[in-house]
């Protein structure tokens, strides 16, 4: 798999995880003591953080706070999400189901 595909695959996975976090966040706002949702949020957030760190160290910052480097401010050195050339987040299928097997 070439590097562009690898980047897209990782970004798609991060996108899926961050969407799962948004959904769980909204649900928890109305159900702040739901055990299953709390557990799901914690494990998803852990995986999200791990992959976000991997993406930012290998490819490009996702938030400005990850934009620093020794030589330049990478925040303005990579394409913006609406530009042609931004990695296709939809290029590859996720490697495992998002919501478990049930």
């Amino acid at each position: 798999m070439n590097s562009a595909n690898e980047q897209s695959r990782l970004l798609r996975r991060i996108n899926a995880l961050s969407f799962a976090l948004v959904e769980t966040n909204l649900y928890l706002d109305g159900h702040p003591t739901n055990r299953a949702a709390l557990d799901y949020y914690r494990s998803t957030y852990g995986e999200y953080q791990k992959l976000k760190e991997e993406y930012e160290s290998k490819y490009a910052p996702l938030t400005a706070t990850a934009g620093e480097s020794d030589t330049e401010w990478k925040w303005v050195r990579e394409p913006w999400p609406w530009e042609i050339g931004f990695p296709e987040a939809g290029a590859a299928a996720p490697t495992k189901p998002l919501y478990g097997d049930d």
Partner: protein, 203 residues
């Protein structure tokens, strides 16, 4: 996409409610040079902007403006809490109150509702950056005018912070203008519109 931080960019702690102040400060929410107009203007101008550095400035200033929308909302909330009906009538706040109670609704000081006419998106690099420079100056003047009319130090403190941010943003849009000029035809800056006439390329 965006992520919310559960804090104000600069603290707002107003001891004494004052509906008269709220009626003029609300222009920095829903008025022609307010924070809502600023955020909408910059975040929308990004899409036709061809230069990475300028897109970065528009994104990050636009995002900060959203935090300023929240600060103005916090000021309005604190200035209009625990009001008696008599205070509402006596202060002239009754004309807002009758439609919105003490909810925070974006209008200008004279009561005109927020309007997209307050923002410019021309799709031209120099026109848009010039609009932004002017917008920051106009917002700075509005804060200056508010500071002429407001004595309470609790209210003045966050307003002075916000005024200082207008000055800084003006300087950053000055950087944006310089960046765009560096890309322009040195014989004629306006020979073509880089946002439309040339293919986009990431530098």
């Amino acid at each position: 996409m965006w992520i919310y931080e559960k804090k104000l960019q600069y603290p707002v702690k107003i001891k004494n409610p004052n509906p008269r102040y709220a009626q003029i400060i609300i222009s920095q929410l829903g008025g022609p040079d307010g924070e809502l107009a600023a955020a909408t203007r910059y975040l929308n101008q990004r899409f036709s902007m061809p230069y990475q550095e300028v897109i970065g400035i528009l994104t990050d200033v636009g995002t900060e403006e959203l935090a300023h929308v929240e600060m103005i909302g916090a000021i309005l909330y604190q200035l209009t809490r625990n009001l008696t009906e008599e205070e509402i009538s006596r202060s002239g706040f009754d004309k807002y109150f009758v439609d919105h109670t003490t909810g925070v609704y974006p209008v200008a000081a004279a009561g005109v509702p927020f309007d997209a006419k307050y923002i410019g998106v021309k799709g031209d690099v120099f026109a848009d950056i010039s609009e932004d420079l002017a917008a920051e100056q106009k917002a700075r003047v509005t804060y200056d005018n508010l500071l002429r009319l407001i004595d309470d130090p609790d209210v003045r403190d966050p307003l002075r912070f916000l005024r200082a941010r207008e000055v800084v943003h003006y300087q950053r849009f000055g950087d944006a203008l310089r960046c765009a000029q560096d890309h322009a035809d040195c014989k004629n800056f306006y020979a073509y519109n880089p946002a439309f006439d040339t293919p986009k390329k990431a530098r």
